[in-house]
Symmetry: C2
Subunit: 64 residues, 2 copies
Amino acid sequence: MQFGLVLRHAREALNLSQEALAEQAGLHRTYIGQVERGERNISVDSMERLAQAVGMELWEMLHP
Amino acid sequence: MQFGLVLRHAREALNLSQEALAEQAGLHRTYIGQVERGERNISVDSMERLAQAVGMELWEMLHP
């Protein structure tokens, strides 16, 4: 899933740790790692929270 | 959630019933109705299946 890869790149570009991103998005750190590795079938609500936390639009994160 | 509205419009433009779309996407008809009304926190996998079933890209369905 490309969302996880884009999330990781965006997070690293902001110099955010998984912990910091998790805090901002109200999700668990281990969950962020799983999402970044494409191991989770993430919900649209969680994707929206993560997009907001890295300052991107969700559609933009899914755009090839 | 805008995904549900776009899905309904795309489905109606194709003259597909909720039943027919559900069949194509491998989901349940009542689930399609709930998604269209924004009552479900849908997963990215289900969104991808629905996007494919209506011949759209997921990012395009989420684009404002």
